[in-house]
């Protein structure tokens, strides 16, 4: 029960995007389509799970003064792993996500979970927390990607649903990202308070 709570906490109650509002840059920058959002979400989720696991394993060996630099190096190395892996095996996705893959290294969520959860907990809960938060992040990015792709081009996961001419291109462009996310957070807020 307790473990399940740790897992679902990151998905719903402390969803990184809709509730905690952390890691906005990749959220807005990579969600031009549902596919890109999903790819970015999974890449970040992978880094989150691994960094939480590593941090909880080494927490006893790192002196307190260098805790933050050590965290940064662990996360940056994992971001590099994802970057090289994606470049080798998923070149198409890598090209469309571009700069945001190395930028996972400075993603606030990864840092926040490592510092606030993994540095204080055992291995298994840390992995579950990373998984939950990562899935919550993926969920948020994918749903934002679906909304933007649907309104902008009339497709969902590249599957055409209505004529492309009827879509408003603005939702695929920069302003649409801000506006769509703004309304989605407003809707979440509305339901939370009710």
């Amino acid at each position: 029960m307790n473990k399940l709570k740790v897992l679902t906490n990151g998905i719903i109650k402390e969803n990184p995007i809709f509730v905690l509002l952390l890691g906005m840059c990749p959220t807005l920058g990579t969600t031009t389509s549902a596919e890109n959002g999903l790819g970015m979400g999974l890449a970040t989720a992978f880094v989150l799970v691994c960094s939480n696991a590593v941090i909880s394993l080494v927490k006893g060996y790192i002196p307190d003064q260098v805790r933050i630099p050590a965290l940064i190096i662990i996360i940056a190395s994992l971001a590099t792993v994802v970057q090289l892996f994606m470049n080798a095996f998923l070149p198409g996705l890598y090209a469309s996500l571009g700069l945001f893959i190395p930028l996972i290294a400075v993603n606030c969520i990864v840092m926040a979970r490592g510092e606030s959860f993994a540095a204080k907990n055992k291995l298994l809960p840390s992995i579950l927390d990373g998984l939950g938060t990562g899935l919550g992040f993926t969920l948020a990015l994918t749903s934002l990607g679906i909304v933007r792709e649907f309104l902008g081009t009339g497709r969902t996961f590249n599957f055409p649903l209505y004529a492309e001419d009827l879509g408003s291109l603005i939702f695929v462009l920069a302003p649409g990202a801000f506006i769509a996310l703004g309304y989605m957070i407003a809707i979440v807020n509305r339901f939370q308070k009710a």
Binding site: L21, L22, M24, C25, P26, L28, G29, P69, I72, I73, A76, S77, A79, T80, Q83, L84, L99, P102, L103, A105, V106, N107, C108, M111, I170, L173, A174, P175, G176, A177, F178, I179, L181, G182, Y183, I185, A186, I187, N189, R190, K193
Partner: protein, 190 residues
């Protein structure tokens, strides 16, 4: 002329916050008051320029000759974090007034993704050193500009009545969307 075009492109057309989505966290976080927005803007101009010069030199004289290109992300982050500390220490000694003004914003900057983003971008775009510096300075000015405009709008927003669910971040994001739409008007001038 080339540099003037680059400046206009980086400040208005490809604005770092509103078109490239780098540095959203400080953009939303420190834009509630005009003073803090100006302070953060100045700090970013300063750090981004210095960091880009350092990371550029490191790439050309250390990582490339040794074939360590894959260490880019890790080494850049370390350099930026160390640099921010160094800048803070030097400023404290050399110019206490400036340190007072930028004080709280300096540590925040090391996790600002527009610093790392620009440092990696200038390498990806294969700029030379002078181009990189111009690009870094103009990107940072673009960041500061967007931040200051946004802070001005948010100060006004404080005084208006907003539906409950829209208060705070949602209305800020929609405002940013409208601002981004306004900046889209610049596209095509370069």
């Amino acid at each position: 002329m080339e540099y003037i075009l680059m400046f206009i492109a980086a400040v208005f057309v490809n604005n770092v916050v509103l078109a490239q989505f780098l540095g959203i966290c400080p953009f939303l976080g420190v834009s509630k008051k005009m003073d803090t927005a100006v302070g953060m803007g100045l700090a970013v101009v300063f750090v981004l320029t210095v960091a880009t010069v350092f990371t550029y030199l490191m790439q050309k004289f250390l990582l490339d000759p040794l074939g360590l290109g894959f260490m880019q992300t890790v080494s850049y982050i370390l350099v930026i974090a160390a640099l921010v500390q160094l800048v803070e220490i030097i400023l404290k000694k050399a110019s206490p007034a400036l340190h007072q003004a930028l004080g709280v914003f300096l540590p925040l900057i090391s996790t600002n993704c527009c610093i790392l983003g620009v440092a990696i971008l200038v390498i990806q775009k294969e700029f030379n050193l002078l181009q990189s510096i111009v690009y870094a300075v103009s990107t940072a000015i673009g960041f500061a500009l967007a931040l200051v405009i946004f802070a001005g709008i948010r100060e006004q927003l404080e005084m208006t009545r907003i539906p409950n669910g829209m208060k705070g971040i949602p209305i800020a994001l929609i405002t940013a969307g409208l601002l981004a739409m306004a900046f889209m008007g610049f596209s095509g001038i370069v």
